[in-house]
């Protein structure tokens, strides 16, 4: 009898903790864009999926890519998306559709360091719909992370306590239930253009955040392992895969040309090993795509919306020609960063 009462008491307490935790998550965690992006991914059959991190989400307009590639494209690049996250997003996409092409945009910084703003902030995890894949994603990735980010998600948002009423109102709204991006909390200078593309207004002043210096010794085995897994998953599902790196602030590239070249060489070797095409758009000639530091809202190389749309046109041409096997590299790319960026003054 005592044992039974003990079990019931423990169960009630655990239920209370779970309930309170869910309540706090509901009241404090801000609606994120990833939830909408995952929803959009399953609404139509996306023929081309782009995976990557924030450079991709601000730099690649799926609308322009649709036109240029003549494919229904979606940009699943998410700030803080590591290769393990990209792999699980792709698994979800394959399960819920039949993509024909996958573009993996590789920001070398993710290969050498964990640099997300908070160890508790897992954008992909927070937006991942509840399903069987999420369990495998949890086991693979989140189980190794600190318990607060996994279970007590509100920890990262507790300072939003003053807007609980607004958050609750948003989450109870019809728009939220319908995955509308209009209820998502975003930077005031950001506009969600749909299909994963975030457009940054030129009103946003330039941030001084710069890139991490490439250091091959710091390359994470796990990131490379997941790149291989992504390639393998694509091959098993007859999906064409291409690696890219979107263009960055020319002054930053000019200042670290040797480091950028070393990173390029590392990724290119990996791509060759996996027999995947790799296009590093930092090697774009200025004739093919003219750009200045004014086109980027930080020194790290995130693009303003206008630039991103222009860049996406060029990007789509390259990818399209690559898929058709009509691409002449010399029409777009130079061979040596120092030559390409000569005359550009570094920061």
């Amino acid at each position: 009898m005592k044992k039974k009462r003990g079990i019931i008491t423990a169960a009630v307490f655990i239920a209370l903790v779970v309930l309170l935790n869910n309540l706090l998550n509901f009241m404090l965690v801000q609606p994120g864009l990833t939830r909408t992006m995952f929803y959009e991914l399953t609404q139509e059959n996306r023929e081309c999926i782009i995976l990557g991190a924030s450079h991709g989400s601000y730099g690649l307009s799926a609308q322009e890519l649709d036109k240029g590639l003549n494919m229904n494209t979606t940009n699943m690049c998410i700030g803080g998306e590591y290769m393990i996250d990209a792999y699980h997003i792709l698994k979800y996409a394959v399960k819920n559709g039949s993509p024909k092409t996958v573009i993996l945009d590789i920001d070398y910084q993710y290969l050498i360091n964990r640099h997300d703003e908070s160890i508790l902030f897992h954008q992909v995890y927070n937006g991942y719909p509840s399903c069987g894949q999420k369990v495998s994603y949890f086991v693979d990735r989140i189980a190794r992370e600190e318990y607060r980010g996994a279970f007590l998600k509100w920890t990262n948002y507790w300072q939003c306590y003053y807007m609980i009423d607004k958050t609750v109102k948003k989450k109870l709204s019809k728009e939220y239930r319908e995955y509308s991006p209009y209820v998502v909390s975003m930077d005031k200078n950001d506009t969600y253009e749909g299909k994963g593309f975030i457009s940054k207004s030129k009103k946003a002043s330039k941030a001084t955040t710069s890139v991490l210096e490439w250091n091959e010794a710091k390359v994470s085995d796990s990131e490379c392992e997941y790149i291989e897994k992504i390639v393998d998953l694509c091959r098993r599902n007859n999906i064409k895969i291409i690696f890219t790196t979107v263009v960055q602030d020319p002054k930053t590239v000019a200042g670290q040309a040797d480091k950028f070249a070393a990173a390029d060489s590392y990724i290119r070797n990996l791509a060759n090993k996996l027999n995947v095409e790799y296009y590093n758009f930092n090697y774009l000639t200025f004739e093919a795509f003219d750009r200045t530091e004014e086109d980027f809202w930080d020194r790290e190389g995130h693009m303003y919306g206008e630039t991103a749309e222009k860049f996406s046109t060029v990007y789509a041409q390259v990818i399209s020609k690559s898929l058709d096997k009509t691409l002449k590299n010399e029409d777009y790319f130079g061979e040596n960063l120092k030559e390409i960026y000569q005359g550009i003054k570094a920061y």
Binding site: L20, S118, A143, N156
Partner: protein
């Protein structure tokens, strides 16, 4: 998967449910399976080492138990110790040795450098090796019979909660609890959860926050001197205590959920009145291991006894009696230093502690005489407080060897205390520039006060946990909810560190 990871807590929760659902005789199988699965999450390459330690300990103790010949028994014991400590020493110190050999060779003009060996360090090797060797030695001493079932012995060696950072358990106390099975008892769950929450609070609210500032100062001793170093050192002592004891709280709490009581590893160490007392309150299980398996055997060895006799003749009865103990202590603390890591700073740290204890033992009669002459009441509270402060300062000096990257840096930090000593640093906002903002300092100060009060209460014998457990259910629940939910937002968010001792 660390002890603060989501996966760890999930594994514990699921295991606990099944643990109490299955018959008691199968419970240890479940713990064994889960322990090895958990260990495997760190990579299968590590598994070979722990399996080797278990198998050699099992086989050798079985041989020792049936062998009558003392010399053969001894040979087998040496074989077990050499092979297992040999692996530990090789894995942990081979690269340290190579670096030092290269340095010596370069002094003599050698150009050929020995290459470092790329090794994957098996997790918890220091802990499980010490634990298993205590079992082997105890069987050799005929303290108890060897375990006949290798899987049962494997559970003792690889028991999940204590696998990575101790406490170093003893077979006669731990095995019966592990293997006997336990009935569900709400008190165990409650006490276990209480202890886990307390440990996490220490780690996330205090240790991780304190480390940020201390590390920033110790990494740049050219810029930060004087008051900065003193504040950093105080924070480092908070970090050391809260990280290690917080981790042990989690370990003991998890174990309590399964109804298994592990040995305590801390007893308010910063209230110690001498360094030797500090080592009886800090990392207690390592201290008692050293005492039982190194100190006593060395002290009563023939060589030491004859040394004692000679010392008595030369230095007189009092000093002659203390000298062998001093020598044994120096040896122990040299080993403790080496155990802490493959670096000169740890060896110096060990010797530093050993010398203080040895000198204190030698000078004890003189201190007593001096106190009597100066009419100091050594039993007064004031004198005890002075002793505590004195010991705390000595402990903190020792922490410099742990906090700084090298022994050279530690000595530099000692000197840096006296440079550019500006008290205004405390009030002009300078302290906010090293990773901790005003809010962090406020949280730190409040949390330290709470920790200090709870430590005083424990020191006075007030059992806080029992006090909480005796409150009405709703009050208890409120306390637990506050502990669970307050730790999360008040815990440090940033580059949190793994539990320090999980790397040993």
């Amino acid at each position: 998967m660390s002890y603060i990871s989501a996966g760890f807590f999930l594994i514990i929760a699921v295991t606990a449910v099944f643990y109490y659902l299955i018959p008691k005789r199968f419970q240890w199988w479940l713990l064994l399976g889960v322990s090895f699965i958990f260990y495997a999450t760190y990579g299968l390459r590590c598994m070979g080492y722990i399996v080797f330690t278990i198998v050699t300990s099992y086989c050798i103790t079985r041989i020792i138990a049936v062998q009558e010949d003392r010399r053969i028994r001894r040979r087998w014991l040496i074989a077990a110790l050499v092979s297992n400590f040999g692996i530990l020493v090789f894995m942990k110190y081979i690269n340290f040795a190579i670096v030092n050999v290269n340095s010596v060779l370069s002094c003599f003009g050698g150009n050929e450098n020995l290459k470092r060996i790329d090794l994957v360090m098996p997790l918890g090797i220091s802990f499980y090796t010490f634990q298993m060797m205590s079992y082997v030695i105890d069987v050799y001493w005929k303290k108890y019979e060897p375990e006949k079932n290798i899987f049962k012995l494997a559970l003792f060696g690889a028991y999940l909660p204590q696998l990575l950072q101790g406490p170093i358990g003893r077979f006669d106390r731990l095995a019966p609890q592990l293997l006997g099975g336990n009935d569900f008892d709400l008190k165990n769950i409650e006490y276990g959860a209480q202890r886990i929450a307390w440990g996490l609070a220490k780690k996330l609210i205090l240790a991780d926050r304190a480390y940020v500032f201390a590390n920033a100062v110790f990494s740049d001793l050219d810029t930060y001197t004087g008051v900065y170093v003193i504040v950093a050192l105080l924070l480092f002592s908070i970090y050391e205590y809260c990280d290690f004891s917080g981790g042990i709280d989690v370990v003991i709490g998890v174990s309590e959920i399964f109804g298994i009581k592990l040995d305590e590893n801390f007893r308010q160490p910063y209230f110690s009145k001498s360094i030797s007392e500090f080592w009886r309150r800090w990392h207690i299980t390592l201290g008692t291991w050293m005492k039982d398996y190194v100190f006593y055997p060395v002290s009563v060895s023939k060589k030491m006894l004859s040394f004692g006799k000679k010392a008595k003749k030369i230095f007189g009865k009092t000093t002659g009696k203390v000298l062998p103990i001093c020598l044994a202590n120096l040896l122990i603390f040299f080993i403790v230093g080496v155990w802490h890591g493959a670096a000169w700073k740890f060896i110096i740290y060990g010797i530093y502690n050993g010398i203080i204890i040895a000198v204190s033992s030698l000078l004890k009669p003189y201190y007593a005489g001096l106190a009597k002459k100066c009419h100091i009441n050594t039993e007064s509270k004031g004198w005890k407080v002075i002793q505590i402060i004195r010991t705390f300062i000595l402990v903190n000096i020792g922490w410099l060897f742990d906090g700084c990257a090298t022994a050279g840096q530690a000595f530099k930090a000692m000197g840096a205390v006296f440079f550019r000593f500006r008290l205004s640093v405390l009030t002009d906002g300078s302290l906010y520039r090293l990773g901790l903002i005003k809010r962090d300092w406020q949280i730190l100060i409040v949390a330290v006060i709470i920790l200090f009060i709870s430590s005083i209460m424990k020191e006075k014998g007030i059992k806080l946990r029992d006090f909480v457990a005796e409150r009405p259910l709703l009050v208890r629940w409120l306390i637990y909810l506050v502990l669970i939910f307050a730790t999360a937002p008040f815990g440090y968010v940033g580059s949190t560190t793994e539990f320090m001792y999980a790397q040993f």
